[in-house]
Symmetry: none
Subunit: 216 residues, 4 copies
DNA sequence: CATGAATGAGTATTCATTCAT
DNA sequence: CATGAATGAATACTCATTCAT
């Protein structure tokens, strides 16, 4: 039921997809997620979608553009909206950084689960296709990092975070969160993430595994 | 210059490769690392190696076996030897967990840098090829985890680590270290990792980003 | 001019073949008949048919299925219909076994000549491909033998045949008729069979070469 | 145990084959008989024979010459010797044509059984390879027919055969005997032929299946 | 004499894509 | 808008054959 992403894709472009077009999108998502873009042929997509191959090319021009048409709306959704939806409200409230982090993780996980297949495609192809990497990684840093920086600095002022430079913090958080999403959703193909796991992740990000006495 | 892994592969099998056969290996490594297994044709490998395609298949039988012949020796090298080389010595000494972690990271990073291309192939295909995933992930958990568990419990007894269950610790460390290697070597394609970055990673793993007063 | 079989094949499946598709069929028949299935490449077929190799595979999937698509309709035509067309009418009439045999041979020869190339393919591959052999020989025995048995027993009752067991008669007739078709159409590649030859064959099957006085 | 043919091949050429060379010959015979010349690769032969492919080509030059080296000695054995061994003695004796035919069939069947694989190869390739056909069929007619003609005419004079022209008789006998060998040894892959079957064949060739009263 | 190494030319089959209807 | 038909270029892989050692 990846209709969610699907609908978002629609609304953001205000395009009405016919039934056949929807079937193409859904078939492509399933196959790309499962076997990877390179190992999925347009013939397979057409067969699963029960349309002719020609219809796919009529709509999307090339296989590559089909991939982008699936990925990009979701990509935009996943990274930038981070701030607008979550940060905006929470940071101004009285909530702690821990609360923010928990909420932030929960929220992103929920979004990733709802669109797991697209999410898998993004990670797989981000790592696999040199060109995608070059286009999307800068985007991530620009958009996502800039907003998170504000939040981190806000909580730094409140004394909830150590005085490690914000850039380094971001890097560490990205590394961990990226590793978390990749391992949970791509490597392990998890269907759900339970609260405890979120809790453990938050705790690790905040305090690591060293005993408190060993702080320097 | 991934001759290092290459030589290890050789010695472990004590096979003498001819000059042309070496060129095949090197061409395959470069192309698989750069464009991914699925996007590299045997024709391209043959062309870069300046041999006939037939020679590739005479030696390796299938493209798949060629991939495995490149990956597996390095894979065995990277994961299990962790304990024997590094853990063995350090854990018995008077060194702290922080020292161990630092040394461990340094050591693995050095190994990964020496064989960066193979390393990139492993990560890319681990994520991309469902079958490889199913074969290699259990292996990682078995071999690598079992040895690290010993170390963690040793340092727990010494009071250097919090009382989080070892399994959770391992999971968090794997997540972070995996994210670290994937982002540094695959996404960012770094040629080197400076000391400061190692230091930051160690610090994050031990203490996170929360201020010490916020400990629970 | 093997259009005859070709049309029958068509009608039995009620598939409309495009001009190019017909050229594929005709090219495949010619080449398989001339050089044998194993010695004919799909590239050759495509070239002779003046289509792309891809077109062949779009239609038939594999080279093997192409062979079967050529062979099977004709095969079904050649063996079972034997009874329905020929036997049915003749056996009930006042005609002699000699008359029946002559008519039967004439009829099968005519059919084989009209589709000589397909016929050559069937015999060649029946002998050459172990798998085809296993599928088709039982079919021949089942379908063809069962109907001929009735005819032979009818004429036995009329006293026109010796009292050799029907099974043995059938075996001898099959051996001779099979040898006849194989030698005439495959080994000698005859374009026509004249009446005299049919007469000689009938005579041989009925009376052999011994002088009548030497009967036992 | 097709050593028999094998030895004859040796003696007729007075060549001593090394152990490896014998293994090549035996491997080739088995594989050609089983899967056909076209579907057997020199690599397979080399593997089964446990020699290098190069050795095969050192010995035989081409795959084609290897086939001929297997076929020709046996071919010469099967057809011409017919007369010398069998005809010579029998025809001059007081034996009947029936006795001759029985002995002749027995003798040829025995020879074919001893070298069944070679025999299968000959029939398969005779039918399959246009070139072989063109070389060998004239040979058969020349050599084999000429000798049998003498026998038939001898027995004709003795009144044991009808007055059908010798040529027609030969053709009919060839057709039946050819059909017999092809069906028994290639299609049905029989391991042995029992006496009764020989008896039935002889009877059919002499008297056919018509009742004696129906003679003209 | 025997072979490991190497290959040019195929081999069946797949691919993304185009276009007339 | 949708598709059946068609394909050039590739794809992984095989083949019979050569040659230096």
């Amino acid at each position: 039921m990846s209709n969610n992403m699907f609908n978002e894709f629609l609304s953001s472009e205000s395009v009405k997809l016919t039934v056949k077009q929807q079937r193409i999108v859904q078939a492509a998502i399933r196959l790309f997620a499962e076997k990877g873009y390179s190992n999925t042929s347009t013939a397979e997509i057409a067969k699963l979608a029960e349309v002719s191959e020609a219809s796919i090319f009529k709509q999307y021009g090339t296989k590559d553009k089909l991939l982008l048409a699936l990925i990009i709306p979701q990509f935009k959704e996943f990274f930038p909206s981070m701030a607008d939806e979550v940060l905006g409200q929470l940071s101004r409230s009285q909530s702690t950084f821990e609360g923010f982090l928990r909420e932030f993780l929960r929220n992103r996980i929920e979004l990733a689960l709802k669109n797991k297949e697209i999410f898998q495609i993004i990670i797989k192809e981000l790592i696999y296709k040199e060109e995608l990497k070059k286009e999307l990684i800068p985007y991530i840093f620009e958009v996502a990092a800039s907003r998170l920086t504000q939040v981190i600095e806000l909580f730094k002022e409140r004394g909830e975070l150590t005085d490690i430079p914000t850039g380094k913090m971001l890097k560490s958080l990205f590394t961990f969160v990226g590793g978390f999403f990749a391992s949970q959703f791509v490597l392990l193909n998890k269907e759900s993430i339970d609260e405890q796991e979120i809790e453990d992740a938050v705790r690790f990000m905040l305090h690591g595994i060293g005993s408190s006495s060993s702080n320097n």
